[in-house]
C-alpha cells in the first residue's frame, strides 16, 4: 500500500521529466512541418498528400523500413559524434571531414592489409577510428595549445578532407576503371548485410551499441560528469579540479573517432569500397541530429530515426509525386534553426526558456570567435 503510493510520485516525476525533455524537440519538429506544409501549399501541392507519401515511403513494409534503418545508421554515428562534443560545449562541426578520413582509412586497410580473415574487420574499424580521431586532433590541439578557434579550423578541414580523399582516390590509389574509387575491400572486411531490400548492415548494431555505451558513460562515470561540467561552465570545472585541456582533447578524439566509424560503416557496409565524394553531407546532418537530440545519446537514436525516415521517404516522394526530395532538407534544417533559437514563452504562468543548446551556450568564447583568432 505504502510502497505503491511512494512509487507513484516517483513515476510522475520521471514522466514529467521525460515530457519536459521531449517538449522542445517535438515543438520544433511540429513547427517545421507546419512551415514546410505552407511551403508545399504555396507550390500548389496538397501538404497532406506530400506528408502521407513521405510517411508511407519511410515505414510501409519491411523494404521501406529497412531503407529507413540504412539511412539512419550514418546519422547515428555522426549525430553521436557531434552530440559528445556539444555536450561539453565544443563545436565539432568537422564531422564531415572526420568521417571522410575514417572512411578512407577503412577503405585502404580493407583492401590492402595482409591479415588473417578474422582480423580484417576489427583492423578496418580500428583504422577508421584512428583516421577520424587524427583528423579531429588537429582542431583539438590547435584549440588547446594555441587558442585557435576550433570552429574555423573544422570548417576549413572539411573541404581539405574532401579534396585530399578525392586526390588519393582519383590519383594515388585509384582502382582501374572509370570511377574515382579505391579497390573493393575484401569480403572478410565487409559488414554483413542482412536484407535484400537495402544496404542495411550490422553497422547499425555497432552504432546503437555506441549510443547506449555513451548514455551509460554520461550518467554513471566521473569522467562523464566532468565532460558535462566542462560544457556547463568550463571555468567552474577548472576551479573544481577538472583538467580542461586533457579532457577537451579526449572529447575531440572520441568525437572524431565515432565520426570516423560512420565512414567505416559506409565503406565496409554500404559501398564495399571507398568512393570519392560518397557523402551527401552526413557530417552536417549529424549537427541537426545532435541539436534535435539535445546532445543526449538516447535522443540521438530517436532523432536519427526521424531524419533517416525523412531521408528514405524523400526518395519515394520524388518518384511518386515529383516533389523534390530536398523538401526534407528544408524541414530538417528548419528544425535546427528553431531549436537553436531560445524562444522565451510563458507556460503555466512561469517564464520558461526553451533552450535546446543551453548547456553548450555557456562557452566563454561564443560569438566573440571572430575577434579572437
Amino acid at each position: 500500500m505504502s510502497a505503491a503510493s511512494n512509487a507513484r510520485p516517483a513515476q510522475q516525476a520521471l514522466a514529467s521529466r521525460v515530457i519536459r525533455a521531449l517538449a522542445g524537440p517535438l515543438f520544433a519538429v511540429a513547427l517545421s512541418f507546419v512551415i514546410g506544409g505552407l511551403l508545399v501549399l504555396a507550390l500548389g501541392r496538397n501538404p497532406l498528400d506530400v506528408y502521407g507519401v513521405l510517411l508511407t515511403g519511410a515505414f510501409s513494409g519491411w523494404p521501406n523500413l529497412s531503407v529507413t534503418l540504412q539511412m539512419m545508421t550514418p546519422l547515428l554515428f555522426t549525430g553521436l559524434a557531434v552530440a559528445i562534443a556539444f555536450r561539453s560545449g565544443i563545436w565539432n562541426i568537422g564531422g564531415e571531414g572526420q568521417m571522410l578520413m575514417g572512411a578512407l582509412c577503412a577503405g585502404i586497410v580493407g583492401y590492402a592489409a595482409p591479415l588473417p580473415d578474422i582480423l580484417m574487420l576489427p583492423a578496418c574499424i580500428l583504422a577508421a577510428l584512428i583516421g577520424g580521431a587524427a583528423w579531429a586532433a588537429i582542431p583539438a590541439v590547435l584549440r588547446v595549445f594555441l587558442g585557435v578557434n576550433e570552429l574555423v579550423i573544422c570548417l576549413m578541414l572539411n573541404p581539405i578532407a574532401l579534396l585530399l580523399t578525392g586526390y588519393i582516390s582519383a590519383r594515388v590509389l585509384k582502382a582501374p576503371g572509370p570511377t574515382n574509387k579505391l579497390p573493393d575491400v575484401l569480403d572478410s572486411a565487409r559488414l554483413a548485410n542482412f536484407t535484400l531490400y537495402s544496404q542495411l548492415n550490422t553497422g547499425i548494431f555497432i552504432a546503437l551499441g555506441c549510443c547506449f555505451l555513451l548514455a551509460v558513460f554520461n550518467v554513471a562515470t566521473v569522467r562523464g560528469f566532468e565532460w558535462k561540467l566542462i560544457g556547463l561552465n568550463a571555468r567552474f570545472a577548472n576551479y573544481g579540479g577538472v583538467r580542461i585541456r586533457a579532457n577537451v582533447i579526449a572529447i575531440m578524439l572520441v568525437s572524431g573517432a565515432i565520426a570516423g566509424l560512420a565512414g567505416a560503416e559506409q565503406v565496409l557496409g554500404v559501398y564495399g569500397a571507398y568512393y570519392d565524394n560518397f557523402s551527401p553531407g552526413y557530417g552536417f546532418d549529424g549537427i541537426a541530429v545532435a541539436m534535435l537530440a539535445n546532445s543526449n545519446p538516447i535522443g540521438v537514436i530517436l532523432s536519427s530515426f526521424l531524419f533517416g525516415a525523412l531521408n528514405s521517404g524523400s526518395s519515394v516522394l520524388q518518384m511518386q509525386l515529383g516533389v523534390s526530395k530536398y523538401l526534407v532538407q528544408v524541414l530538417q534544417f528548419l528544425v535546427v534553426l528553431i531549436l537553436a533559437a531560445q524562444f522565451t514563452f510563458s507556460w503555466r504562468g512561469r517564464r520558461r526558456v526553451l533552450a535546446a543548446a543551453s548547456p553548450a551556450v555557456s562557452v566563454p568564447t561564443e560569438n566573440r570567435a571572430a575577434t579572437e583568432v
Binding site: 507550390l43 516533389v323 571572430a370
Partner: protein
C-alpha cells in the same frame, strides 16, 4: 596562355570579392558569419529566375540582392533577437538555402540539376575606350562585364565606410570590445543587424554575378563553397578591405589554375583547390603561435 589565365582570374575572383566584402563587415563587427554560401545561392537562384521571367538583368540583380538580404535578415533575427548561436544558425540557414533552392529549382523551373535557357539575358562585355588599346593591360582589364568592375570599384567604398565614417568606427568598436561599445552608448544590436544586411547585399551581388554573369544558368549548389573561400580570405587578411580583396584575388588565381593547369601538365586539380583552405589554417596557426609567444590572452588561459 598567361594573359588568358590572368583574365579569367579576374572573372573567377569576382564572386569571391563580393562575398568577402560582405563577410568582412560582419567580421569587423565581431560576428562569425558562415552563412555567406547560403546568401549567395539564394541570390543566384532569385537572380536567374527573375531575369528569365522578365528578361531584364536589372530586375534579376535586384531580385537576387533582395532575397539574399531577406535571408540575412532572418539569420540576424535568430542570432540577435532569439539568441541562437551564430554558428549553428548560420549552418542551418546555409543548408536551408541549399535545400530551398533545390526544391524550387524542381518545383518552379521544373529542372532536377541544372536550369539553363537561351531566354536568360546575358551581360554584354564592356569595352573601356582608351584602356582597351593599351598593350598588356588592355586585353586584361577591358572587356569584362558590369558586375566585375562594380566588385573592384566597391573595395575603396567599403574601406571608406569602415575607416572614414562614424558608423564604421562603431562597427570596428563593436568587433574589438562589444561591452565597451555598449557602455559608450553605441546601438550594438542595430549596427550588428546593419552589417548583416550589408553582408546579404554583397552576397546577393555575388550570387547574381554567378548565375547571370559568370555563367548563364542555375545549378544546385553552384556556388561551390565560394563563401567558404571568401571567409578564408577574410580570416587570412584579418578583415581589412584591400588585403582581403588581394587575398581573394590570389585564391581566384589558384582556382583558375586548378581549372587550367591539369589540362596542360596533368597536375591534380584537388591539390590546387586545397590551397585557400590550407593557407588559412596555416595562417591561423601562425597567429595563434605569435599570440602565445607574446603571452597575450589566448582562448582559455585559466589552466596553467
Amino acid at each position: 596562355m598567361l594573359s588568358d589565365i590572368a583574365f579569367s582570374s579576374i572573372r573567377i575572383a569576382t564572386p569571391l570579392i563580393f562575398a568577402a566584402l560582405g563577410g568582412l563587415y560582419t567580421f569587423q563587427a565581431g560576428i562569425l558569419n558562415i552563412a555567406l554560401d547560403g546568401f549567395m545561392i539564394v541570390g543566384a537562384f532569385a537572380a536567374v529566375s527573375a531575369a528569365y521571367a522578365t528578361g531584364s538583368l536589372t530586375v534579376g540583380i535586384l531580385a537576387g540582392v533582395i532575397s539574399s538580404i531577406a535571408l540575412a535578415a532572418v539569420l540576424a533575427l535568430f542570432n540577435l533577437r532569439f539568441r541562437a548561436h551564430i554558428f549553428i544558425a548560420g549552418i542551418a540557414v546555409t543548408f536551408l538555402a541549399y535545400g530551398l533552392t533545390a526544391l524550387l529549382l524542381k518545383s518552379v523551373l521544373g529542372q532536377d540539376g541544372v536550369f539553363a535557357s537561351p531566354d536568360i539575358p546575358v551581360f554584354p562585355p564592356i569595352r573601356i575606350p582608351l584602356l582597351a588599346d593599351a598593350p598588356v593591360l588592355g586585353p586584361l582589364l577591358s572587356g569584362h562585364t558590369l558586375l566585375v568592375y562594380f566588385a573592384y570599384l566597391a573595395v575603396p567604398c567599403v574601406w571608406w565606410t569602415l575607416y572614414r565614417t562614424r558608423w564604421g568606427l562603431r562597427v570596428r568598436m563593436i568587433g574589438e570590445a562589444e561591452d565597451a561599445a555598449l557602455s559608450a552608448g553605441v546601438p550594438v544590436e542595430r549596427i550588428k543587424f546593419e552589417t548583416m544586411v550589408i553582408s546579404g547585399l554583397f552576397c546577393g551581388l555575388a550570387g547574381a554575378y554567378l548565375s547571370l554573369g559568370y555563367v548563364s544558368l542555375f545549378a544546385r549548389q553552384m556556388n561551390d563553397e565560394r563563401g567558404l573561400i571568401a571567409l578564408a580570405a577574410i580570416f587570412f587578411a584579418k578583415g581589412r578591405p584591400f588585403a582581403t580583396t588581394a587575398v581573394a584575388l590570389l585564391f581566384g588565381v589558384a582556382t583558375a589554375l586548378a581549372v587550367r593547369l591539369p589540362e596542360v601538365t596533368g597536375a591534380a586539380p584537388q591539390l590546387l583547390q586545397m590551397i585557400p583552405y590550407v593557407v588559412t589554417v596555416l595562417a591561423l596557426v601562425v597567429v595563434g603561435w605569435r599570440a602565445k609567444r607574446a603571452g597575450g590572452q589566448v582562448g582559455w588561459r585559466f589552466e596553467t
